[in-house]
Symmetry: C2
Subunit: 326 residues, 2 copies
């Protein structure tokens, strides 16, 4: 059975929303996961079917990385530690990104051969049911060309074993499709990838085309990837508000909404991180999934789903083997 450690105290909505996520997942996949719930035991006292791990501290959402790493009794730290100790296959937290990623990287450590772990965000695309995997979207602030090139290997393995794409098509994010475009590091990655026979390399891709469906994997430095991720979220949120405004305009548009709401609900599911289920840290010796700080039960359940799929498909072993052939 897959064993997953959950940081119960990291989310903005508290342990109740996180627990709701666990319950939603259990209803969907009964008996598939053994949960290790890490938090204040008095808050979790009524839970009988999961292992409870007591933790007395909470990492504040705005805690600096160094401060967070000092909180050894925090629910986040203890949840991550369970992976290091081999008691859990993976860990999920809604806590601060910087703190969680640093903690996971320092505590669990990279898979041998991994130059740098990368935060991966799967995005929806214009092609139905097709997702594109983008990495790094913010585990690092700077990356070397060699690191970006290695993200292609990890992203390809992810696309193959999680989405079943046999030969995932990989692109480098750049400010133009020509070979001489891109950041200095991106250009180095381009050169390495164009000579790597094991990668199905498509060249540079502009940010405008990332969601078009032509790419299975897009690699970039963590800083640009973060701008892309957050910028996309901002535009999606902005347009979502404009859609609401368009429907609330007058009595006619409100009637219009009644007629068409089903399609728009599907759309918001496709766009929302609830369906994408959080970002994951690829390249460390365990499954690490970061859910949004504001995650409700549905979002937490999706994040658990991601962790479950990664653990079930043994992504850590797959990366270990994939890099051994480098």
């Amino acid at each position: 059975m897959i064993r997953l450690a959950i940081d119960m105290m990291g989310g903005d909505l508290g342990s109740k929303a996180t627990l709701e996520g666990v319950r939603i997942f259990q209803n969907k996949h009964p008996g598939k996961v053994e949960f290790l719930l890490v938090g204040k035991k008095e808050e979790l006292a009524e839970i009988k079917d999961c292992r409870i791990v007591d933790a007395r501290e909470v990492v504040p959402a705005d805690a600096g990385v160094l401060d967070a790493l000092r909180l050894k009794e925090s629910s986040m730290f203890k949840a991550v530690e369970l992976v290091k100790l081999g008691e859990a296959d993976g860990v999920i937290s809604c806590g601060g990104t910087g703190a969680f990623l640093s903690d996971a990287t320092v505590t669990i450590r990279n898979i041998p051969g991994v130059k740098r772990a990368a935060l991966v965000a799967p995005f929806p695309t214009a092609m139905k049911d097709k997702k594109v995997v983008i990495l790094d979207v913010g585990a690092s602030n700077e990356n070397s060309g060699e690191e970006i090139a290695q993200f292609a290997t990890m992203g390809s393995l992810y696309s193959r074993y999680i989405y079943g794409i046999e030969e995932p098509r990989v692109f480098v994010l750049a400010n133009g499709t020509e070979e001489d475009k891109g950041s200095p590091e991106g250009k180095i990655a381009y050169k390495i990838l164009s000579e790597d026979k094991r990668i199905n390399f498509g060249g540079n891709i502009e940010a405008r085309e990332v969601l078009s469906g032509q790419a299975d994997v897009v690699v970039t430095d963590g800083y640009s990837g973060n701008i892309f991720l957050k910028g996309s979220e901002g535009v999606a949120k902005f347009m979502g508000e404009m859609i609401k405004r368009s429907f609330k305009r007058n009595i006619f548009s409100k009637i219009g909404y009644l007629f068409s709401k089903k399609g728009f609900k599907e759309m918001s599911q496709t766009m929302g991180y609830e369906s994408v289920g959080g970002a994951l840290l690829l390249g460390v010796n365990g499954v690490v999934v970061k859910a949004h700080g504001s995650s409700d039960g549905e979002a937490v359940s999706s994040a658990i789903e991601v962790a479950y799929t990664l653990a079930k498909n043994n992504i850590v072993e797959k990366i270990k083997e994939g890099l051994a052939n480098e």
Copy 2:
């Protein structure tokens, strides 16, 4: 009278769409602009009310920058040259971005004191009628911290004289709001701006918040700015397609569209570059506006509107004066 040079051959839709743009503008603002239309004179023979400047060559949309700069007889080159010669106050082209910006920078040259010209894109925000000015969105591939800091001065002058914002609030694009976030160059810009009394500096801003309306000006290096611009376009296009799909779903959703289409048409006007009217190059000795390659008449007319507003408000002189006080 304001004099504007138009590259008639740069757009994907040919001189007909560009001419349509001129006509739309003339109908809105009769007698306000003297047009210098640069293109093959046989294609423009029937136009009697504008000055026609013959140009025998067209810069191919995918031309490399160096190749483009060699085409001295091209409509783009000749249109830009009219600004250098003082015969036009500004120039508009739908041609290739790289070629046009390089041509404009090399030929027209920077305003004295300007370290680097910046491509500026105004974006809509969640606040009604409020726009945010983002620069650089791709004139350069790399920028120093000092250059990014100077973009704040140019962007503030733009916001003040074009949008009438007395004390524009300026932010640095970063991967977190804390002072220690951001690219190495962004951090240098942060330090310079936090000590500059003439700038209403708000600190770092995450890409997610750029369109929220809190910022009047967002400064960034050209590479990240380009990722933000193109990424936003991609998401907007993707969501636009999903809106269409939602309405086309079945007979009910089609009825829904009939009831609510007015609001959605307004939305697509707010989002579309037709309303934003192209990006502009700030910091050179003349008004330079780049319209989308696929611009139709409406989009060309909006780009002319931007150039007209910049020339009328004498933005070049305003920047010259603003930088003289540095």
